[in-house]
Amino acid sequence: MTPQRAMFWKIEDVWLFYVIAFIALGLFTVGVAIHIFVWRKSAPHGKTSFSWPALKHSLMDIFLGLRVFKGDIPAGIAHFLIFWGFVILTIGTTLLVVDDHLYHFLLGRNHLVFEVSMEIGGLFLSAGIIWALVRRYIQRVPRLEHRLEDAIVPLWLLAAAFSGFLLEALRLAAQRPPWGNWSFIGWAIAGWIPQGVAESVYPDLWWGHALLCLGFIAIIPYTKLFHVIGAPAAYYLHHSEEKSAGASLAPMEPGDSLNPADVAVLDACMRCGRCVQACPSNGAGEPFSPRDFVQAARHSLWLEHSPAGDIRFLSKQRPIEDKAAWYCTTCAACLEVCPVYGATFEAIARKRASLVEEGKGVPDLMNQTLERLFNYDNPWVSSKRERGAWAKGLDIPVLKADGKESQLCYFAGCTTSFDARAQEIAKAFCGILKHTGVSFGIMADKEPCCGDIARVTGELGLFQEKMENCLELFDKYSIKDVVTSSPHCFHTFLNEYSQTPFRVRHYSSVLKELMAEGRLKPKNPVNSTVTYHDPCYLGRHNRNFEEPREVIGSIPGIKLVEMSHHGSESLCCGGGGGRMWQGTDLRGEARMSEIRIREARETGADILITTCPLCLVMLEDALKTVGLEGKMKVMDLNELVLQSIEQ
């Protein structure tokens, strides 16, 4: 006898199976079609195009599960097992159908390989699900939720896998084929089952298994299982979108703001909670969860655009307040860890834009700050005159309009210009530039605001105005080369402006270049242990992790130690996204900046170095509020370098 098996052995009313299968596939198709409908409605102007690199990148993400392994290997393994188990079983079952109806090829050796593969597939699937259930319900990994759907989906899948094994065991027990031991699990179970029982129970169980499997296919689009389609779509759309280095909140016209990728991501989110774990606001005990926000954003899109309302019937949408939109610091930590590249802060920026447009949900302090920004071109003081005051007595050339020769423009930015502590950044950096003989100038009281705060708070109209104003002024001053003290200005100029007709660098790059050229040589030893805080907009958003570290490393005597969160996993100081200008009503159990400064202290470092005025102000403040003053210092990189070159 050649090893083989018949699909409908002992099954009557096969037509019924086809009817049910048709219904299941129908439900599946309808569900997917509604998704596509909603996506098209939500992003009416979105274009998708074919891109081979994007496809390649997506396939790697899908089949290697790189995004899932990232930062959580146990979860990665669980997902890997479920994923491959599911893939093998799906392919296997499809082959079986082909074998039965079209071309009988699962014979002899083919059949044996098939049987073994199916065993392995089932084993992977079951092991993966059990592990996942253990993690969620026994280990109780904090980021995982316990909604109805979170239990039903894996149990369903597990029931399908187990019933598959049992069914196989029954068949083997009834048929006892000589090659039966190739199906090693089924065979082992079959040993326990009397032949007569097996034969009588088999058809019922077959129907049960069929219903479970077909039902499973049917519910995919109506549960978080949709990620099996949503995630690949999100990957492809994400990779094929033209994006700057980091993710950007590209200037959006409210109302016509969504890209296909933004929408796909919302539906691909399976509430894994990695973003919650990474989010500094949530970590500080603030009542904000990026996951809930993403889910709420998804829900409201569905209510707006879906003909059938929200079709996720197993998970109730929790209500979320408008106020939630103001917690995010736009630090991008969530984007770093989200398996489907969900950048919550983009959804947040859209929400902010609509609140600003509506006008009502804007917190008082933000309202005042934006008014100040409009009237006085900075978020701090009601005056433009004081802007260059930090440079008084330092003999720094002031650039002139229509200046013939273009030279390096040092763009101090609002906070560096007005905050007494942050002014030290400007003074130190100018000191270094003078020391190295670089010719440069400042715009002093003519310096404009880059508009970052307007953008991150969703005041896109004001941002547009600030951008136009800046571009016009730079043009008038023939400015072609800009160096900023703030990573925020740097990022805004580089990635958020519709055009950047000038070269722009953050000062850390300039320091690095000056060192490479040999013009800047730190020589005085700074005998300290230091640690470095990556500002979100220099690091995660613009992937510059190394240059500041290289500059630090080149200072004699210095020892750099890393905090547990560093590089792309750096923890936000809490000052970005307009949070600096938010009232105490958003405060959580701890301040983000305090959590960060404690972490810095744990490294045993004497100095915490940063490269952003907002970080400097926030962390210096936290140093005092946690009572570490005198035990540790917070310094800007410029101050450190200046120390090392000054006589």
Binding site: V356, E357, G359, N367, Q368, S382, R385, G461, L462, Q464
Partner: protein
């Protein structure tokens, strides 16, 4: 009840939040020069916010009246962007530098010209001259009930119910319509007006009626100017810090003198 017709009086002034160093006094010309952009007087913004909240609840129409020698609709269209329905500018060279009675008179003529109204709202005082008179006088001239210093305003069955700030807390008072209420900052800040909304409005052609004295009865002899005799800067405007030196005792004595001068 029928939807309320609300009139809000709003004045355009140089930003009163500007730092002192941006304000200079020209003694000869008897002029105050403020190096700051023009804004709507903050309490008038509060009044507008109160009006918009009533409209959100009951519907109706909000008409903003603004009077001056020259009023800029780039500043005042903010009221429309925020939620007002109509803006009427009362503009005439003769309206420059009017004293409070005359201002109230012009406003009352305009309001009488509008005919139908249920509620008039004004800020409790203007952010430049801080007189706090116009609203109250206007109520007298219109001969309608008058409630000052509101921190919350509701319309109920043809009456206006106001929480009025009083020294010990607040008092709940009620008056029949039409009535005039002067609004205090406790009402809440004017909702944020997005720039895009503002710009959209500025680009859109919009009929903004301008009424001069001719349209309001042409009663020039009723208009009187403020009779400014002298204008002086306050005792010490510049913030050059005087460091009080000496022994602790001397420092204390001089500081005590400074503090006593505050009266």
């Amino acid at each position: 009840m029928k939807e309320p017709q609300i009139i809000v009086c709003a004045k355009q002034i140089p930003d009163p939040e500007a730092p002192f160093s941006n304000v200079t006094v020209n003694v000869e010309k008897k002029q105050v020069l403020v190096d700051a952009p023009d804004v709507i007087s903050p309490y008038d913004e509060n009044a507008l916010e109160a009006a918009i909240r009533i409209k959100e609840e009951l519907g109706g129409k909000i008409t903003v009246l603004s009077m001056g020698r020259k009023v800029s609709d780039t500043v005042l269209r903010k009221t429309i962007a925020a939620g007002a329905d109509a803006l009427i500018l009362l503009e005439d060279p003769l309206f420059e530098g009017l004293e409070s009675n005359s201002v109230a008179y012009v406003l009352s003529c305009a309001i009488k010209k509008i005919v139908a109204y249920d509620l008039v709202l004004t800020g409790r005082q203007a952010g430049d001259w801080d007189s706090g008179q116009v609203g109250l006088i206007l109520a007298e001239m219109l001969d309608i009930p008058c409630i000052s210093m509101a921190r919350s305003i509701k319309i109920h069955d043809g009456a206006v119910v106001v929480e009025k700030t009083v020294p010990v807390g607040y008092e709940v008072v009620e008056a029949g319509l039409p009535a005039l209420v002067t609004v205090s900052n406790e009402v809440g800040e004017l909702r944020y007006v997005a720039r895009s909304k503002m710009l959209g409005l500025l680009r859109r052609p919009m009929p903004i009626p301008k009424w001069g004295l001719k349209d309001l009865g042409d009663n020039a002899e009723r208009l009187k100017k403020v009779q400014l005799m002298e204008l002086a800067p306050p005792a010490d405007m510049g913030r050059a810090c005087t460091i009080i030196e000496g022994s602790t005792d001397e420092q204390a004595a001089r500081l005590a003198a400074v503090l006593k001068e505050l009266r």
